[in-house]
């Protein structure tokens, strides 16, 4: 077993006192940054890069610190999703769907524990995949062309109707609004500014994190203000402080399935953690939602997307390390850091710098364990946050989101946009329109359009290229199968309710 001895040597690299210290620091800072709405892994890693330079750490130590932050953010993002219904970062949006209802039902501790364990399972599976198959998988991912990516996005959006909301038209409309917003800005292919109204702040498009925190955090405050002062300070009931094993164990298959789906999405450059958690949730719902409990606090609806999100985050390291292609914003920052540390990720990295690669892999194993150990005892503390009266908690959350957005972009315009999205989010929520598809549309729309146009440039305008490869055909068949299944299930449910009504009447 060559891999085992390589990992063994990796553990020797990782297990120095300095590296363990950095690992713990990274995990802690990462969890904190991930939990603060508006701050995510991209900022976390970018913020810490100067630190690694300032102290002159060697590349391995720097990478260990930054990867610990990266994984820590993925862990942390779910905390505010569950407790406040405000995602800490983009990939954590899916966790709001069932995590927050669980918290409202007094199950906050269990939800946090399930998401923590699911994160651990997802990330560990991804790291195992990374250590065993990285070069092979990277070579396989190369064959995913623009037309295939487009098919993947079609699959994602075709399944979006299944995620939430009563009226699928509203859900689809929400996704389309997201796609529409994604076209704002200078088109990177032609250089034409679209829908910018000659405002140069819009040239770079709408930053998803701005829309995300506006839609969720500001609108949450407006929703809370609707309730009268008397029925307000309902600091949410907490049934128990500590999680129960009996709540976690039944979600094990959801975690494994979510990990698998997320990992595939992570390995494909450009799909990333958000798509990973989204697909994991949708597939789990399709598979397990027999009693209609998803969206109302089903533990599996927390386990699957969290496993998916973390395993996608790990999977995204594969194209980053072995091809030098960043799969997401965060891996792009990690890539830049590696290059400035004189490490050239790419096909030769595994041969040339095995110490670095295997030290990193070993430290990822360790980071996962550290995160689980750090996070489980913190559940009690986080759950207590729920007891903070709303009047104290929400203003501070609002301030953090404003600072977080401003601290990164230095743009007052982004803050104005955030308030606008707050009002939009409030109106949409009142009208029973799910916000999740909107954010996904905004996140994925740009890549969806670019890959369509790349495919058309390759074929010189021949639309048949979209169904010319076995990969895209498979994805379209999956899409059709998925839609057919949804329709069939909907019809069956409809008949059942009708029959029930008849017997009742």
């Amino acid at each position: 077993m060559e891999v085992l001895s390589l990992i063994g040597s990796g553990f020797l690299v990782a297990l120095t006192p300095l590296n363990i210290g950095l690992l713990l620091l990274g995990c802690f800072v990462g969890t904190l940054l991930g939990a603060l709405p508006g701050l995510g892994p991209v900022n976390g890693v970018a913020v810490l890069i100067p630190l690694t330079f300032a102290f002159g750490f060697d590349p391995t130590s720097s990478l260990i610190l930054l990867c610990a932050v990266y994984f820590g953010c993925m862990y942390g993002g779910r905390i505010s999703s569950i407790l406040l219904n405000i995602p800490g970062d983009e990939p954590a949006i899916m966790t709001t769907l069932d995590g927050y209802p669980m918290a409202v039902q007094g199950q906050a501790a269990n939800a946090l524990a399930i998401s923590g364990v699911a994160s651990f399972v997802g990330a560990t599976i991804a790291v195992i995949g990374l250590s065993l198959f990285a070069p092979v998988l990277a070579r396989a991912a190369i064959h995913f062309g623009p037309a295939d990516y487009f098919a993947l996005y079609i699959l994602a959006f075709a399944t979006i109707g299944g995620i939430a909301g009563v009226d699928p038209r509203k859900t689809l409309l929400s996704a389309l609004i997201g796609l529409m917003l994604a076209t704002v800005g200078i088109d990177p292919i032609s250089g034409v500014p679209r829908y910018t109204f000659d405002n140069f702040h819009l040239f770079d498009g709408i930053e998803p994190i701005v829309a995300l925190v506006g839609l969720f955090a500001i609108s949450e405050i407006l929703l809370i203000l609707e309730k009268s002062v008397k029925d307000r300070p309902k600091a949410i009931r907490v049934d128990r402080w500590m999680p129960q094993w009996s709540a976690i164990w039944p979600t094990r298959w959801a975690m494994l399935r979510g990990s698998g789906v997320g990992f595939v999405a992570g390995v494909l450059p450009g799909a990333g953690a958000s798509l990973g958690s989204f697909m994991a949730y949708v597939f789990e719902k399709q598979k397990s939602n027999k009693k209609g409990t998803f969206g109302k606090g089903d533990p599996r609806g927390v386990a699957a997307p969290e496993a998916g999100n973390n395993s996608a985050a790990g999977g995204a390291l594969i194209p980053m390390l072995s091809l030098g292609v960043p799969g997401s914003g965060t891996t792009a920052v990690l890539l830049a850091m590696l290059i400035s540390l004189n490490v050239q990720p790419g096909p030769l990295l595994f041969e040339r710098q095995p110490d670095l690669v295997w030290g990193l892999v070993a430290s990822l194993y360790l980071a996962n364990i550290a995160l689980l150990v750090l996070n489980l005892p913190m559940i009690g503390i986080f759950t207590r946050l729920m007891m903070t009266p709303t009047w104290a908690l929400m203003p501070v959350v609002a301030a953090i989101t404003f600072v977080g957005v401003y601290g990164i972009s230095n743009s007052v315009f982004d803050l104005e946009l955030m308030v606008f999205f707050g009002v939009l989010g409030y109106v949409l929520r009142k009208l029973d329109v799910s916000l999740v598809p909107l954010v996904l549309g905004l996140l994925l729309g740009g890549d969806m359009e670019r890959n369509l146009r790349r495919a058309m440039s390759i074929s010189d305008g021949d639309w048949s290229i979209l169904i010319a490869s076995p990969i895209s055909i498979t994805l379209y068949v999956l899409t059709i199968g998925f839609l057919a299944l949804s329709v069939w299930l909907a019809v069956r449910d409809h008949r059942q309710t009708k029959a029930e009504r008849l017997t009742e009447g």
Binding site: L25, F28, L32, V42, V45, I49, P50, L51, F53, A54, F55, A141, I142, H143, G145, P146, G185, I186, D187, P188, I189, S190, G191, F200, H201, F203, D204, P269, G270, L323, G324, V325, P326, G329, A332, V333, L335, A336, I339, S340, N342, Q344, G346, P347, L348, L349, I381, L385, M387, T388, V396, I408, S409, N410, S411, R450, R454, S457, I458, D460
Partner: protein, 324 residues
């Protein structure tokens, strides 16, 4: 109330924990990278910032601000409108930025700013997959001349961007008349383009050497030409376009500008500091390891160079039909 104190205690603990490690003094000097973290401009700012403070040329650290948007247009507009006389501000730019200015894609003309210096350059390459039947630049040119739409080409810039223009300059030299017929696909980065080429989606890549050097070393791709005057030190065996009779030079230099109303004194001070930086081992090493060839042009010489290059770029863009 008790809970609130608990939160504050937690935040406080986090702060002290992190403060022990950072506690970096803020400084007046700021470098704006007009891109998200991770791009070439980000590298320029972060590396120059680091070396400036390592050499003690500035007090404290250089603060790097990312201001992405419109291939540098957002930062350009901001400096022009709000900080034209800020003597502590430098902004990263490159050939890519000047191409945008030359094509009128920035909100203000080139002369709005004062250009300080270029400190290094990435070299353009034209490459094919190692399985490709095309062995030399001459064969590629023959193929393009015979049927301009036969090969799909791609790189990291959009249509009309610098990667695209460099390829069209080569094609133009080779006698391809219908440049618009050459199919061009934009990717998000040079490595994206190369991996898509390895996956068989496109046939030719035109981009910067620095980003894709790993694939050249591993033998996954075949470089037909490097677009420099002399063979590049890291890969002396790779042929230049000029050695194959195609007179195209395509550097992507990295440099800095500052606001248009900065005093001559401050401007000259910056040029002097940057020259010291350029001559330091720290910069030479950092640049080489990032795949850049160190090249110095500063002050008036650089100002003239930027204007000349913008003129050439505008002419080329007009010639090949990118702008009317």
């Amino acid at each position: 109330m008790k809970l609130r104190t608990m939160i504050s205690v937690k935040l406080g603990a986090a702060m002290t924990a992190a403060m022990m490690v950072t506690a970096a003094p803020a400084s007046a000097t700021e470098c704006i990278a007009p891109s998200n973290p991770g791009g070439g401009w980000d590298f320029t700012c972060r590396t120059i910032g680091r070396v400036l403070s390592e050499l003690g040329l500035v007090e404290g650290n250089v603060q790097v601000t990312n201001m992405a948007g419109g291939v540098g247009a957002v930062a350009f507009a901001m400096v022009a409108a709000e900080r034209p006389a800020d003597e502590d501000l430098i902004v990263a730019t490159s050939t890519v930025g000047v191409t945008q200015m030359a094509q009128g894609r920035y909100p203000a003309p080139l002369e709005t700013m004062r250009y300080l210096a270029m400190l290094g350059a990435d070299v353009g390459v034209i490459a094919v997959d190692n399985d490709s039947p095309i062995q030399t630049l001459a064969e590629l040119n023959a193929a393009m001349a015979a049927d301009p739409s036969a090969l799909v080409t791609g790189g990291s810039s959009g249509a009309g961007g610098w990667d695209h223009i460099r390829l069209l300059m080569v094609a133009q030299q080779a006698g391809v008349s219908d440049l618009g017929a050459i199919r061009w696909v934009q990717f998000d980065g040079g490595t994206d383009a190369v991996t898509q080429m390895m996956g068989g989606q496109i046939a030719v890549v035109s981009t910067d050497m620095g980003e894709i050097a790993g694939f050249v070393e591993s033998g996954d791709i075949r470089v037909l030409a490097v677009l420099s005057e002399e063979p590049i030190p890291a890969f002396p065996e790779l042929p230049t376009a000029m050695s194959q009779g195609v007179n195209v030079i395509g550097y992507n230099w990295r440099g800095l500008y500052t606001g248009g109303q900065v005093s001559d004194e401050a401007y000259n001070g910056w040029v002097e500091k940057l020259e010291t930086l350029y001559n330091s081992d720290n910069w030479q090493q950092a640049a080489t390891s990032a795949g850049l060839v160190p090249i110095w042009r500063g002050g008036a010489e650089f100002e003239a160079f930027v204007r000349e290059q913008a003129g050439i770029m505008e002419q080329i863009s007009r010639d090949i039909g990118i702008i009317q």
